[in-house]
């Protein structure tokens, strides 16, 4: 894991974001380098989702800067972020429940015009998730949680992102689906997409990630290689359930 000398694809510097009146992020700085999987760990309310919402433009930081591929995106509107190359599979999946699987995937490619490329990516998504192909004409809202999660990740991939934000991809899924989702995350990363992963399941996340950050009430309290974090005593106690 050598990140030295490279420029990060995503760089947050001293980001302060408010959630209503709540000071949710109190100066977050983090980097994601090209080809990396980086995970954000932390308890509920630590600011993990707010960090993602700051990046994707839904919750603009009041202070600090966010740079993507060297360009400042702090004040870029939410609907223009995806064009820059950042796509997200949000917490709770947030599919369009009354659209079919195919329509949901097409929505992921909403800002693209290259029909052949979109077709290609649709085939790629179906290759990653054969289950979605079986259910292609089913309304997304009627599928099981695991299938919906696959569809949400597939939808994000349809934007052909350089950076994929994954918010709690394993939440509420049966163990067999959790393992499958993490296999897929690994595959997507191998195909060249950088990933910022927010996850409650710290063990799985640290197994999958190259590096990790630990958030506590809006601050980053730990930043290290995933392997090192896994053996960190504090992390083991708080997030890996050891006593």
């Amino acid at each position: 894991m050598s990140t030295n000398g490279r420029t990060p694809i995503l760089q947050l510097t001293d980001v302060h974001t408010y959630y209503g009146a709540i000071h949710a992020l109190k100066g977050i700085s983090l980097e994601v380098y090209e080809g990396e999987i980086v995970t954000l760990l932390g308890a509920n309310g630590a600011g993990k989702s707010t960090t993602l919402r700051s990046i994707n433009g839904l919750n603009r930081p009041r202070q600090g800067s966010i740079r993507f591929e060297g360009r400042d995106i702090t004040t870029v509107a939410a609907h223009q972020i995806v064009k820059r190359g950042i796509a997200q599979s949000p917490e709770g999946r947030r599919l369009f429940p009354r659209m079919t699987v195919v329509e949901n995937l097409e929505m992921g490619a909403f800002q693209r015009n290259d029909r052949p490329g979109i077709r290609e990516d649709m085939d790629r998504v179906f290759e990653l998730f054969p289950r979605l192909q079986e259910r292609r004409d089913q309304k997304a809202g009627t599928m099981s949680g695991g299938e919906q999660q696959m569809c949400a990740i597939g939808r994000a991939l349809m934007a052909r992102p350089k950076l994929l934000l994954l918010d709690e991809p394993s939440l509420g899924l049966a163990p067999i689906f959790v393992e499958r989702i993490f296999e897929i995350i690994h595959q997507i990363n191998e195909q060249g997409t950088s990933i910022l992963l927010v996850e409650q399941n710290a063990l799985m996340a640290l197994d999958a990630a190259h590096r990790g950050y630990v958030l506590e009430t809006g601050h980053i309290v730990l930043a290290d290689d995933a392997k090192a974090l896994k053996t960190n005593e504090q992390v083991r106690k708080t997030y890996l359930g050891e006593t």
Partner: protein, 350 residues
């Protein structure tokens, strides 16, 4: 297992033999019996009234769709919508008579004039409706839901006053240009051109809307925004622009309804939008608010109920009761079937 969520809901609905359901069924049966007796006694009247109902239903449908489109995307009952329809009537009369010199006895020349007026009225009302959203509702986005609702009622009064100042407190009349000669007869009843024109203009507008929502990129953006605003933004959809576009379309439909109403009924007054708006809103709720085919179905049903009530001879309550009947339907629907006739309860509550 989760192959089709609508199937089990329908099944549970059918399997639930509640007292309320039985009463409702009885009520509908009684209604059908009443209609059958009327149809049997005076078949010609019945048919005539039926055709009138369809025609009024078309006008209601155009207005109801505006309520349903806006509700679908913002969960806002746009009380000002009926008044935009009223302005549509005023625009239509102004454009047709002042710009194009529409008057009776022009022969086929009325066809291009009506179409030009239709277009202009739709554009005018569309722009006004989008402007209302921009000025009155957009600044309240993300605020408690009551705020835009009260603002909508306020906008309704503002537009009524605009109509009052512009055209005065009295009815203004449109030239009676739609010919009343018969197109064809069924069972001794003439179907007249003026009714047919309403239907002939409504149907392509409805089909156009359906095409727009189902097939176009903007339509997709509208449907997505209605289902999940944040997720839509993440997909690269400009949510604010999509909402503006929705108000533009809804206003355009109200403009079309305004034209049809003013030329079919031939009178327009500043305060008629509020009442017709409420009826159209009831139609939207009846069909399932947020559901486009539902709004059309609800509007046709309300049009028929109104026509039957006012036009049939045997034990019809009469026009004094129309309002009471329509709003009783609204109450019954809200209490017993809030999702409407065609509405569905989606798993995610979408």
């Amino acid at each position: 297992m989760a192959a089709d969520a609508s199937a089990p809901t329908l099944a549970t609905r059918l399997r639930r033999p509640s007292a309320v359901g039985a009463l409702g069924g009885l009520f509908v049966l009684a209604l059908l019996a009443w209609l059958a007796v009327n149809a049997e006694r005076t078949p010609a009247d019945f048919l005539e009234v039926f055709l009138i109902g369809i025609t009024t239903g078309c006008v209601y449908a155009l207005v109801a769709l505006g309520y349903t489109l806006v509700y679908g995307i913002l969960e806002l009952i746009n009380f000002a919508h009926g008044d935009v329809f009223m302005l549509g009537g005023m625009f239509s009369i102004t454009y047709a008579t002042h710009f194009f010199g529409l008057h009776t006895g022009q022969g086929v020349l009325i066809i291009p004039i009506v179409f030009a007026t239709l277009l202009l009225a739709m554009i005018s009302c569309g722009l006004i409706n989008a402007a209302i959203e921009f000025v009155a509702y957009r600044p309240l986005r993300g605020k408690p839901r009551l705020a835009p609702l009260i603002t909508a009622i306020g906008m309704s009064f503002v537009i009524q006053d605009v109509g009052l100042i512009w055209k005065g407190p009295n009815y203004i009349t449109a030239p009676d240009v739609f010919p009343r000669s018969k197109v064809f007869s069924i069972g001794g009843v003439d179907y007249t051109w003026n009714k047919l024109i309403v239907v002939v203009i409504t149907i392509p507008v409805l089909l156009g809307l359906l095409y727009l929502v189902q097939r176009t990129r903007q339509g997709k953006a509208m449907r997505a925004t209605a289902q999940d605003m944040d997720a839509s933004a993440m997909m690269g959809i400009n949510v604010n622009r999509t909402i503006s576009f929705t108000f533009l379309i809804a206003g355009g439909l109200a403009g079309a309804a305004g034209l049809l109403y003013s030329l079919y009924v031939t009178t327009v007054r500043y305060d008629q939008g509020f009442q017709l708006g409420l009826i159209a809103f009831t139609a939207a709720v009846l069909g399932g608010v947020g559901n486009l085919p539902g709004a059309v179905l609800g509007a046709i049903l309300i049009g028929l109920i109104q026509a039957f009530n006012e036009g049939l001879n045997w034990h019809a309550p009469g026009s004094d009761w129309t309002q009471s009947i329509v709003f009783s339907i609204l109450i019954l629907i809200l209490v017993f079937r809030p999702e409407g006739l065609l509405g569905e309860r989606t798993p995610e509550g979408g």
